[in-house]
Symmetry: D2
Subunit: 313 residues, 4 copies
Amino acid sequence: MITSETHKGKPFSSLHPQFNGLLDIPLVSAGKVAESDVDVIFLALPHGVSMEFAEKWSGHRAPMIDFSGDFRLSTPEVYSHWYKKEHTYPTGLQSAVYGLPEIHADEIRNARLVANPGCYPTASILALAPLLADDLILTDTIIIDAKSGLTGAGISANATTHFSNVNDNFKAYGVTNHRHTIEIEEQCAGLCGHHVTVQFTPHLLPVDRGILATVYARPRKATDQAAVEKRYRDFYRDQPFVRIRDENPSLKDVRGSNFCDIRPVFDPRTNRIIVLSAIDNLVKGAAGQAVHNMNIMFGWPQETGLMHVPLQP
Amino acid sequence: MITSETHKGKPFSSLHPQFNGLLDIPLVSAGKVAESDVDVIFLALPHGVSMEFAEKWSGHRAPMIDFSGDFRLSTPEVYSHWYKKEHTYPTGLQSAVYGLPEIHADEIRNARLVANPGCYPTASILALAPLLADDLILTDTIIIDAKSGLTGAGISANATTHFSNVNDNFKAYGVTNHRHTIEIEEQCAGLCGHHVTVQFTPHLLPVDRGILATVYARPRKATDQAAVEKRYRDFYRDQPFVRIRDENPSLKDVRGSNFCDIRPVFDPRTNRIIVLSAIDNLVKGAAGQAVHNMNIMFGWPQETGLMHVPLQP
Amino acid sequence: MITSETHKGKPFSSLHPQFNGLLDIPLVSAGKVAESDVDVIFLALPHGVSMEFAEKWSGHRAPMIDFSGDFRLSTPEVYSHWYKKEHTYPTGLQSAVYGLPEIHADEIRNARLVANPGCYPTASILALAPLLADDLILTDTIIIDAKSGLTGAGISANATTHFSNVNDNFKAYGVTNHRHTIEIEEQCAGLCGHHVTVQFTPHLLPVDRGILATVYARPRKATDQAAVEKRYRDFYRDQPFVRIRDENPSLKDVRGSNFCDIRPVFDPRTNRIIVLSAIDNLVKGAAGQAVHNMNIMFGWPQETGLMHVPLQP
Amino acid sequence: MITSETHKGKPFSSLHPQFNGLLDIPLVSAGKVAESDVDVIFLALPHGVSMEFAEKWSGHRAPMIDFSGDFRLSTPEVYSHWYKKEHTYPTGLQSAVYGLPEIHADEIRNARLVANPGCYPTASILALAPLLADDLILTDTIIIDAKSGLTGAGISANATTHFSNVNDNFKAYGVTNHRHTIEIEEQCAGLCGHHVTVQFTPHLLPVDRGILATVYARPRKATDQAAVEKRYRDFYRDQPFVRIRDENPSLKDVRGSNFCDIRPVFDPRTNRIIVLSAIDNLVKGAAGQAVHNMNIMFGWPQETGLMHVPLQP
């Protein structure tokens, strides 16, 4: 069942015409959904609203996968500092599992409430995890220069999403204070075991889908290209959705798919590691990752329903 | 097996990086392919080259589906007039079946050589077929104003395909003399049983994929919206890939899919029928239609391998 | 002075950052503008609102150039039929001059109220005028298949202008009933001296600026390419902003400029004339044409302030 | 006079149709140009070719402004290391002045051979100059994450410039080894007086024009936003083409103009300075800067011919 208060009664395909003849079922009000109707709940709501629903449905047998920022951070205090509002369901926050399958598959398997990661954090953490998990980089040198397609800004119509402000244009936003900064920092700290400060600068691309994160960091010890690359291949050996690349990944290499394509580079001239990481923000950065989490929670093969060939061109 | 003379030996995914980890098999030279290796042959070659291969492999047991313009027209004379070269395999031309499944499924079922339709003709003929099959329109009033994404111009790099000439731009080309004109005219004549002249004007859109054909014609007799619309729904009732729409179809409604979305409109003010028809030129207008033809030739369900949800946005 | 009720007090450049350092004057409320402050008034208001202001300021010495649809049509009845509202200033409507300089320069010179033409009508009428002024075409065969950049949809943010609905996409809208239809028909009738019905189909391009109109019509008498082309060159001989082209004009050929590039083609195979006409909808289709009208009204050289080289790429 | 060996004899406007009626003069062979015909020479040639011409014309009275990379670096050795070819005109290299007017106006005034800066270096050096000139940053912490429109890749048609590889896509290129790295490093060293190593990562945007450089560096001493911003405003006080901005500059804020829009930000959380710098790579990054250099060389007002309002949208 797909719920909507605004559009209840309309066929799903009337809002998303690509589904004509494929998914014409009517949208229903959330209030009409009986507990016995559902085996798993996907919450695709704004932050602040999501925690209300998560609390209301917390007694149901169906586990929840939440797309908002409400259950991704460590404490109510951190949440209220970055999201500028009180957290009303702190026990939910405490029990929630961060749903990045490549890192937290074991906890996800038994979770009742999964916090589906943000799109920027997904691309950024996967780019850094092999280095952080072995504490290979100086954690105050991390810079994440990230570029996102416009769908990252959501479906609401405003000056930011107006075609003429985006098309043939490019700009930074949220410089120094984007909310995904803290999500990335906390997850990175979890990986390396100590405090991490990242410089995170998002930019808005004139494309529909996709994030490319260009990540910079200084290694703790002398290294070289072969060692860095081997570390990435080893770390992601058994992961079906991470592809270590020899060339620079482009957004269309992953568009419409659940892949995260990563290229790690060591620059001996500057003694710096540069990691390029590309995802589709709507799939690996959102819905695909949620399905991946569901697959793990239900003990299904991880790839179930997710092995689409990226659409190129 | 996928053949290439230019790139033989390379993994397929090195040319099309979206297939990394999904299809890494090496490309092979066509000369290395044994007859026993193949059950069906897809010829994706330039016109002029295709007829050579089709002739060479005509004795094999595997049927052929050809993507070029070499086998779509009625006679060698018509071919040489519009394609400015001799046809060297006229018996192939004579035996070939025009592979538009919605119209010619019965002949396709038993064909040895299928001429996969051009992208513009696919969108145009499907827009006109319900009207022509009952001889409902004045055939000298047909105007097809068509707009195509850049992939219609092919993979070769030249001034036409240079980003800066296409992006944020729009123009007509091939005005009065595009080769698809005769392909459309001959197929339309086959449907209504008499000569048809169409005005066909293609334009180049700054998008990757998709064709929208806006088709105009005068009805022979008085009609109205309900009658026109009913005609379309009846005609395509059993066709899995044609969707009759109430709203104007957009390119993204069909992108990455084998659907043809059609909206017929009758304008009582001008006494004219206007039909909007949208396809993805790389799927319904090329590879998807070829697979559809293969499915019919082998007696498989028509939808096999083709029921992708269009990628939107 | 530039007025704005919503943004009064803010520097103009804060809304349009390209003007930083070039035009930082504060916006003022219209109510603060004294009669003696202004020599000419440009009204850039929604239809319905514009006629109120035009009436209020009708006693002032400054002539007015109006950008809305309020003063472009022939009678209040025609206006209310197509615009679905009453006309509250019919004497203004009666006295207004249609501001297409290539056709109406003499009336514009002495006008007190100029109705600046719509963007689609500008491209369409200029494409047809040489034929209509000599009654060379069958006026029930005119089809205008027009394609516009997104700025034609205005600055307001809504589903239509959301980047993800426009980018890499294309669709028709207003099929059979767009308001510019009647504006085109009335002006065409004025040129040829009898009733004209046009089929007008607008489409939305994923580009910022520009309109390309592809116009079709049957000639009354036998003709050829040379005669048609000569007619266009003669008709526009002394017009600084119309360029008759040998190749198909593209949107970028005129982007950012006041030019209208026109290519007329006669197709002997179908006995039809096809005219391609390109403008920048924000310049020749709006602000540039308004300045052109001002230049004529004040007796200045027509090109004053308007001779920009189109921005390509 | 505009020279071309490939297109000699053709009107300039036949290659650049936006100039129809504005600049129709025929292109001439360089060999036909007499010394007395020219007062200044603009060399728009590939590197390697440019030095041949510069040497051949070095005895003429007309000064030269060169667009290639041939005269931008310090020594023939550095040149051959980064450009992989011998420098055949080392005395030219030694005498050439680096044509960044905001930094080198005094030398430009008397130069016989000006090396017009690269597009990336222009955006990058202007972003860093106020900090470097007072030695305010740790020069081994500089990271320049730059994003360029496709025209940066030139007019030649190849896989890189093919629309379908660029549209709705994004990727990095030249990671760790782009030639503009050394140009930036040498100019930065000249400003601060000691060695500078920069990490320079260019990316390819699906836009026609524009570069946005996002520049990161650590301050040497404690600082704050007010101090950093004041430094930038003071440094560029008298420069007509640098605009210090309060908001994040976008590419369209400068498109078609000679402006460089800069926003400096200090992040107290990370103790890092982030500078956003936007130019049009074809104007401030190439032709406009060349005209600016000419204006200085001839003692004309700097703004002559260059005060275009950026085209937005």
